[in-house]
Amino acid sequence: MIAQIFEERCTGCQACVVACPTHVFDAGTDGVPLIARLDQCQTCFMCELYCPADALYVAPEQEGAPSLSAVEALAMGQVGRLRHDYGWDRDAPPEAPHLQDFWQLGPLLREGAEIAARRYAARWADTDIA
């Protein structure tokens, strides 16, 4: 769930108010948005992706207390990490586009399923389960 807007980083651009698909934020009077409807947060990290100032911290817990406080997340370099991993904070050089490894998705998924199938067959091979 959205845990924190770091006021000292927030520029008040309101991008998160508009980009949040579930209408969690209200525009604040002093420019910093308010977390107005926490119960509607779906922990999708989209606000982090759309915040140009890396001023938001979404804790991964969909329910209950976050295991990492916003201050710890900041200290660990987790704030802004996702936007950086997506490459949304910079242009990609032509020889290394942001999505250059994305094609591996399907093959890796199938490989995972095959590993599980082989392991399962081996496990039950010497057991008579009829």
């Binding site: 698909p21 209408h23 969909q62 329910e63 991993d85 094609w103 995972g112 399923a113 590993i115």
Partner: protein
């Protein structure tokens, strides 16, 4: 409170929704010359399950024999309910359409010297579709949830009405044709990206007389860490343990039927289940961050090494999202049975391309793209023929949650949701169906529905929330009714009291009605036709 005067607009084509199906529909309608308005509950770019996912589309090159073989392979898994013509159509349309995004989406290599088109990462895909739609001339209204459809006196659809939540103003749009592309219904399971997917479009369509199909095939789940629904790529090679460290007997994923799901669900009912990903492919361990960064965040923030440490998992219900149920399609242009109304994506039935099994992983995305494009083009052509008829009087078709049958009050919707969830995505109700259980769930859901229908009324944002709950109650009612009526097991629909597949029931099953839900086979049983 909405004190400002309502926003009123008109368009040739109104698209309701903001995921991939809605955007492709809007783009096609605009390219056909129509004046197009798209209203989304959320923000086009982040809302819906497309944005948080990364759909891999059904992708088969037009080489001799390959498409035919792909169709036969998937047809065999559809339990006789898909249509080869539709399957061929979505393969072809997807193949031709996706590369058109090249100016908007950063396509990269396929590892073999070519371009990788079939799989697209959600946030970049939806950002690209937003830009493409805007470039095509579509007017996008974000945060404009639709609440109800409007009808002409002749029963045809005249537009829609809703609530602009950032402006706190009611809105009304008149249009010559309306496309429902509101996605599926995941019953607030916590499934990634699905909070807004509450089945609103199904309810709105049913209120004007549309019929649904395939609702009994709504039995699909995603495996994720217990505290955060992610995409499922990392978990395919997982081993599973109980808290005592005993390995559980879980058949591998993709091993057919629901053996994998059922084993996990039973174990989860007994207690926490821990996943162990140490067997995962090495390339995945090294490359996950570059492929799917959002899958790592839930672990890093908790200081868990996902390929070394064991961690608790959960199955997140997908309802009709990766099920196949939705609004019945009656024509080649994605027409519904109601004049001027079209349906696309997860809000339409996907039985035409996936039958009784989930089309997740390939057909669903190809369907959302293709049905969107087809519906958009057909709606534009239709609107050109009929005109907008923008100044005739219209009737607002919304019922439950908007116009109570009895004394109005604001019901506490939180009371009904667990009942709706138990009936639809509850492991036992979904994976081990029987007539007795289904009857109990039917009665419980009906009581929730009655409360909202009799008394439910709210204003502004509360009205949006109330309609979402009404839609979930309606979808639950249709799912349970269809599961009761399909007196056999077929694909995702598994009845423990009817374990076999009955050849006489090889037909799609229609369900509709609000206060009085009814079901009937789409066409008579096979032997009746033969007779």
């Amino acid at each position: 409170m909405s004190e400002a005067a309502p926003i009123t607009r008109s368009a040739d084509v109104l698209i309701i929704g903001g995921g991939m199906a809605a955007c492709w529909a809007a783009i096609m309608a605009a390219q056909a010359g129509a004046d197009v308005l798209l209203v989304d509950k959320g923000f086009v770019g982040t809302s819906g399950v497309t944005a948080t996912g990364g759909p891999n589309h059904w992708w088969v090159a037009p080489e001799p024999g390959r498409r035919e073989a792909a169709i036969e392979e998937r047809y065999a898994r559809s339990f006789g309910l898909a249509e080869r013509d539709w399957m061929a159509r979505i393969i072809d349309e997807t193949w031709r359409a996706l590369p058109q995004l090249a100016g908007y989406y950063p396509f990269a290599g396929d590892g073999k010297g070519g371009t990788f088109y079939s799989g697209v990462r959600g946030p970049e895909y939806m950002r690209a579709l937003r830009r493409f739609a805007q470039y095509a001339g579509v007017t996008i209204l974000d945060h404009h949830p639709a609440l109800e459809l409007l009808l002409h006196a002749d029963g045809s659809v005249a537009g829609a009405a809703g609530y602009a939540r950032l402006k706190q103003q009611a809105w009304t749009v008149r249009a010559g044709a309306v496309v429902i592309a509101t996605g599926g219904c995941a019953f607030r399971s916590g499934l990634i990206g699905s909070h807004g997917n509450s089945g609103d479009g199904l309810l709105m369509a049913a209120e004007v007389g549309a019929v649904l199909s395939g609702m009994e095939f709504s039995v699909s789940y995603s495996l994720s860490p217990a505290w955060n629904s992610t995409r499922t790529l990392p978990y395919f090679a997982a081993r599973f343990f109980d808290t005592e460290g005993r390995e559980l007997d879980v058949p591998p994923p993709m091993s057919g039927e629901a053996a994998h799901l059922r084993a996990l669900a039973r174990a989860l009912e007994a207690g926490p289940v821990l996943a162990d990903l140490s067997d995962a492919p090495d390339a995945l361990k090294q490359g996950l961050r570059r492929i799917q960064p959002a899958s790592l965040a839930p672990f890093e923030h908790k200081r868990i090494d996902l390929f070394r440490d064991r961690f608790p998992v959960r199955l997140f219900g997908e309802g009709t999202v990766r099920g196949t149920g939705g609004v019945q399609i009656v024509g080649d242009g994605c027409e519904t049975s109601v004049a001027n109304l079209y349906a696309a994506g997860d809000s339409a039935t996907r039985e035409l391309v996936a039958g009784a099994t989930s089309g997740g992983g390939a057909q669903n995305a190809a369907w959302a793209l293709t049905s969107g494009r087809i519906a958009g083009a057909a709606a534009a052509a239709h609107a050109r023929r009929t005109g907008r008829r923008g100044d005739t009087p219209v009737l607002a078709a919304g019922t439950v949650g908007l116009r109570p049958a009895s004394t109005a009050r604001l019901p506490d919707v939180r009371e009904g949701l667990p009942i709706i969830q138990a009936a639809t995505i509850g492991y036992d109700a979904a994976l081990w169906r029987s007539a007795g259980k289904l009857e109990r769930h039917r009665d419980a859901v009906e009581a929730v529905w009655r409360t909202i229908a009799d008394h439910g009324r709210a204003e502004g944002l509360a009205a949006v929330a109330l309609r979402e709950h009404a839609a979930m109650a309606a979808c639950a009612g249709w799912i349970v009714a269809a599961a009761l009526a399909r007196d056999e097991s077929r694909g995702m629909h598994m009845r423990i009291d009817r374990p076999g597949t009955d050849p006489a029931q090889q037909s799609r099953l229609l369900v509709a009605g609000l206060d009085h839900v009814w079901t009937r086979p789409e066409r008579p049983a096979a032997q009746e036709i033969a007779a």
